[in-house]
Subunit: 336 residues, 2 copies
């Protein structure tokens, strides 16, 4: 045992929701979008955001102390990271994820204990609703959400464009592609490839606009579909990110089998998300994401690289391996 | 601007409520109290805690990855800090604070945006209730809460017992003393002092039992009272911790004036809590605590050392100064 443990780390973690919710409210209120237009003093900023004077100064200064704003001579500006990633007017905006977390997940996580006791979701499903409907039904929110997915996946997507031996293949399709960030990064890095992205039909216009903005409309097309109801398109490489964890083991195996069937001989399946380390004691984000799947889905869970490799081998894939991408993300690869 | 900002820090902070709530649920469920009795495998632990098997392994392993549990050979044990501070059976338990945060604050903070827009509390008061009632009405919860206050204040209290020139004084009283941790630490460090603690009458038995456990019952007595309705007891040194921030400026000045009146000539007032740094850009916990006062009280707010010194001087105190204690806590001292 350590010599003199202190309660500091326990309290910091336990009260960590204060700082977390402060950032989520700042995104909701548009603090960073407002400041991207120029420095403002506290009173002016509070007025433009519609904030009561009682808490506004503490709110802004807490964001300063958390490193998300700067203040000089009484005027606030964004920090370098919030200027790039939390200004709604920039394509690099990742706040759509945090808007969703603020509007939905923060409250649902309040019922974590009940989820742990019952094994049942604690989101819209609890009242007979549907999480996908909640996210997909409002086009403005959906667009912000998929833009957020692009922003948070960019690092991992650029790593996948580099780390996989793309020269061996001619075509690829990203399943559940959202805005199409991964296909765009792969196509930008490898001129010889063509392919596209597969997602629900509502995503089509968002994908096509994004891909066209990179001049990639000739090489990347949108495949509308539902990966449980429809056959998957035939291609050399199928990519499957942030999908398997939404489902129970049976559905996971169904999706892997469908991927095997759709791949050309010698083709590859790449599964990518916050893959948990095999020892299950390092990747806190991956393990917490799995608890998020408990709250959001009837049977979903995240899994280790070893788990996923065994499912791939059971489905007929060979030469499976796991490769770290960035942060909590890894890819699991199997060859048909 | 930095060369290549990444969204990682934004996402870690924004999703920080996941890890935070996971620890709060673990305290609620008694994970650490259970494991203090000995190592257990995941299935046995889940069964004893009444957890569904779906999420329990991810829950325990997330706590491992967060550094709050350890796992060896499939059996879980507490980490050194949770073993000392989150076992309900130990006097060092600080979980009462986290139980309160879990049962009350996490949900109330979900309305932070509304609090910022309206300037109004978002706790029991919103439905006509009262936060003090919610905490003080259940003796078991109250006891856990004041024990938690002891645990989290211990470091600052020991620092106050060392850093103040106690040899100049004969008597002291701690206002809003809770269990009496600070009086006990001061009395243990300085044989020549006698004094006590002032709090609401419900606290009396808890204080007396705690103080007696250190053999200090002869030197420390309990003063029941309400510091707005009753005069403060006369003494050489008055200590006022985690009180001023509960109130608006007018009430703060009333309490400081009452302290001035009660002190013997040459006496000292010590105000201690998470005093915000004068530049208001470092002490994130103090600034977030002030937002917590927005959520919990009609007019309370935290303040800088400079703010507090000016109120003390306005009330007649001289030779004011601020001294850092530990972590986010400082003391502000004024002499009558």
């Amino acid at each position: 045992m350590a010599g003199h443990p202190t309660p500091d780390g326990i309290l910091q973690l336990g009260m960590g929701f204060w700082g977390s919710k402060t950032l989520l409210s700042a995104v909701e209120l548009g603090v960073f979008t407002e400041l991207a237009q120029g420095p403002q003093d506290g009173d002016g900023l509070a007025q433009r955001l519609g904030l009561h004077q009682r808490g506004s100064r503490d709110f802004f200064d807490a964001l300063v102390a958390l490193g998300k704003l700067r203040r000089e001579g009484g005027r606030y500006t964004n920090s370098p990271d919030t200027e790039v990633f939390l200004d709604r007017a920039k394509p690099s905006y990742v706040g759509g994820i945090l808007e969703m977390a603020n509007a939905r997940l923060f409250g649902f996580w309040g019922s974590l204990t009940e989820a742990l006791r019952t094994g049942r979701p604690q989101n819209e499903a609890k009242e007979g609703g549907n999480a996908f409907d909640a996210i997909y039904s409002d086009p403005v929110r959906l667009e912000a959400f998929v833009r957020g997915m692009t922003g948070v996946s960019m690092g991992a997507n650029m790593a996948m464009a580099q780390k996989f031996p793309w020269s061996k293949y001619q075509s690829f399709i990203d399943l559940g592609t959202a805005q199409g960030c991964l296909p765009a990064q792969i196509a930008l890095a490898h001129d010889h490839l063509s392919g596209g992205g597969f997602d629900l039909p509502q995503i089509g216009p968002i994908f096509e606009q994004y891909v066209a903005s990179f001049g990639l409309a000739q090489r990347l097309r949108f495949y509308p579909g539902d990966f449980f109801k429809d056959p998957l398109p035939e291609t050399d490489v199928l990519l499957m990110g942030h999908i398997l964890h939404d489902w129970g083991l049976e559905e996971k195996r169904v999706l892997i089998a469908k991927a095997y069937e759709a791949l050309n001989p010698g083709g590859a399946l790449i599964v990518y998300e916050a893959v948990i380390d095999d020892a299950r004691n390092q990747n806190a984000f991956g393990l917490l994401m799995s608890l998020n799947m408990l709250i959001e889905t009837p049977a979903g869970f995240d899994y280790t690289g070893a788990d996923c490799q065994s499912w791939l081998r059971d489905a007929g894939f060979h030469d499976t391996h796991v490769e770290h991408l960035v942060g909590p993300d890894s890819m699991v690869v199997g060859i048909k």
